[in-house]
Point group: C2
Chain length 334, copies 2
DNA sequence: TTGTACGCGTTATCAC
DNA sequence: GTGATAACGCGTACAA
């Protein structure tokens, strides 16, 4: 059951392998009779062109490398899914590697991709500085998703605006003591969302109260923890803006345990609009990032770059998804 | 900035390319001096071995194909993640393709993988009959995950037992009117979980009430819908067993909208133990499937198969994760 | 220990 | 329109 090659077909059809190659790629005209014969044999033998050999010969591997950070984050996962579907049946296939948010592993992973002669790179999240990246990848077509980096092709969400939108919504509902559970403090997305939070506060003449700002790590556990921290500080609050939906879920659970109702006692806004957000009880008001679309856009943009088309970095505005986790504050508690 | 080859190194280091190849693979001893020189040049030129060429030469592509069904299901996603991490830095990289639960697309996707001369296959879910699979893949090492197929190497969960465990827990708490929101009725997992449900009922001398069994499609929407169907049927129930956690979330939301408390008025058990289950309010009691572990096991098992090691199909028992969504029924409602 | 020569399966460049 | 023949980059018998 060995793999059949174009040479086998050539023998069987009594032609040279060049002719076989020609009909298979319709690269130049071939006599109809031979053509038919070749096609028939190809079918009969169940020939599958060897992509590896083709890659070597053409200098194009028809693969694109995708670097994820495997944070287990629904957001990044959704982007990855978008990449897979976006590549669909373009002939390109994605190879996934995992950087685990660790620069050293990330470098190794990219090198592995380079060794496979990928035709392009999609970097999903990640921490590598751009100059180091250029050093590593030279002029390999690259799209960065979910991260804003100057002088690169990237696709990202406007996190400042998102943070602003979320906070402003709460302010408009009459909240003034708005806790912010941010993720890892030095994460660029977090910095921006925090900036948006501060901007909205400033605009409403509400002074920033640092004891309303709790660090977290994007997990639900950190959401639970954050509420506990607030309570232990005896910090009163009527609303929570969580760095992402996952965190919001944790916060919602902690509130539930304390018999605080959402939204009557405490309002919550999340970030991402991950699949489960719409089915939280109550459904979570959140800032939607079009993760899957960002993934599909990344792959089509990358294919464009490979073909020499230009690409302008694109930012998406977070979209406020108003559901049921926000209302006017009844009376501040604690 | 063209790619440097072993020939370049050979020229630079004044040796033949075979010698270069030897030190790079330490396939046979080389004089220390030359060895050092070659290594130095390799470093200096930033040489990256061309995996494509190596694949062609050795007949091993060092890639494994992963077929997902991209159902967006947390369960299958987690398996995929497990596959990626399981491959880690083994030198093998995964190529992902998407079958979308459509047999025709699935065949095409597998053919694409075959064309890339993957050294092995990991099938995550999927619908293809085993004989068709053999027809297609011949004796290519293959692991099937999340599906039980005779005469193959597969890794799956015992869904009958899982369904039984979930139902029995509810029965033990005194429930007798237990709704079952099953997924797509003909899905093999669903059939098994349903069997487990019936077994537990039978064991407790509870007659199967068909109007307590609602079809769904594994989505949260279908969970909402199922509760509405039950209500419209005026079917009383004190507990719900959902085909998966995602469905359970929807059910929980529908209950919330009807001011039915969980678990005081209605108990819920899910299936999967996806990440969000532990942070539902209240935390969801569910049957845990070790999805990530199944993924990592799949990759290590596959590498084993490739190296000629045997593999015995492995089933995991679903693990009952008792949390807070189940209690004794107070009084049946409706 | 080292170099030469060939093969892996395809595409591309020649002549005819 | 067609068939040799040389790449593509690497591994590896074989000979030296």
């Amino acid at each position: 059951m060995k793999n059949v090659t174009i040479q086998d077909i050539a023998n069987e059809a009594q032609v040279s392998k060049s002719t076989v190659s020609r009909v298979l790629n319709s690269s130049s005209p071939v006599h109809p009779d031979k053509r038919r014969a070749i096609l028939e044999v190809t079918q009969r033998l169940g020939f599958q062109p060897n992509v590896v050999a083709r890659s070597l010969s053409k200098g194009r591997s028809m693969t694109i490398g995708a670097l994820t950070q495997n944070i287990g984050s629904p957001f990044y996962d959704a982007i990855s899914q978008g990449v897979i579907t976006g590549l669909g049946d373009t002939g390109y296939s994605p190879i996934f590697v995992d950087g685990r948010w660790q620069p050293k592993i990330e470098v190794g992973a990219i090198k592995a991709l380079l060794g496979r002669r990928v035709d392009g790179l999609i970097l999903i999240g990640g921490t590598m500085p751009v100059d180091e990246l250029n050093e590593l990848c030279g002029d390999l077509p690259t799209i960065i998703v979910g991260r804003q980096v100057a002088n690169t092709h990237c696709i990202y969400t406007d996190n400042i605006d998102g943070g602003y939108l979320a906070t402003k919504l709460l302010i408009e509902h009459g909240h003034r003591e708005i806790a912010f559970i941010r993720g890892i403090a030095h994460h660029p997305d977090v910095i921006d969302r925090f900036q948006g939070y501060k901007n909205a506060l400033h605009e409403a003449d509400i002074e920033l109260n640092k004891s309303l700002v709790i660090d977290g790590d994007f997990t639900s556990e950190s959401g639970v923890q954050a509420i506990e921290t607030l309570e232990s500080r005896k910090q009163s609050f009527t609303a929570v803006f969580a760095a992402n939906d996952t965190t919001a879920f944790g916060a919602r659970l902690a509130l539930y345990r304390r018999n605080l109702r959402v939204p009557e006692d405490v309002s919550i806004v999340g970030f991402d609009d991950q699949a489960e957000a719409a089915f939280m009880a109550p459904p979570l008001t959140t800032i939607r990032q079009p993760a899957r679309r960002m993934g599909t856009l990344a792959s089509s943009a990358l294919l464009g770059l490979i073909d020499g088309a230009p690409f302008q970095s694109q930012s998406f505005q977070g979209e406020l998804k108003i559901r049921e986790s926000v209302s006017r504050p009844s009376s501040s508690h604690q």
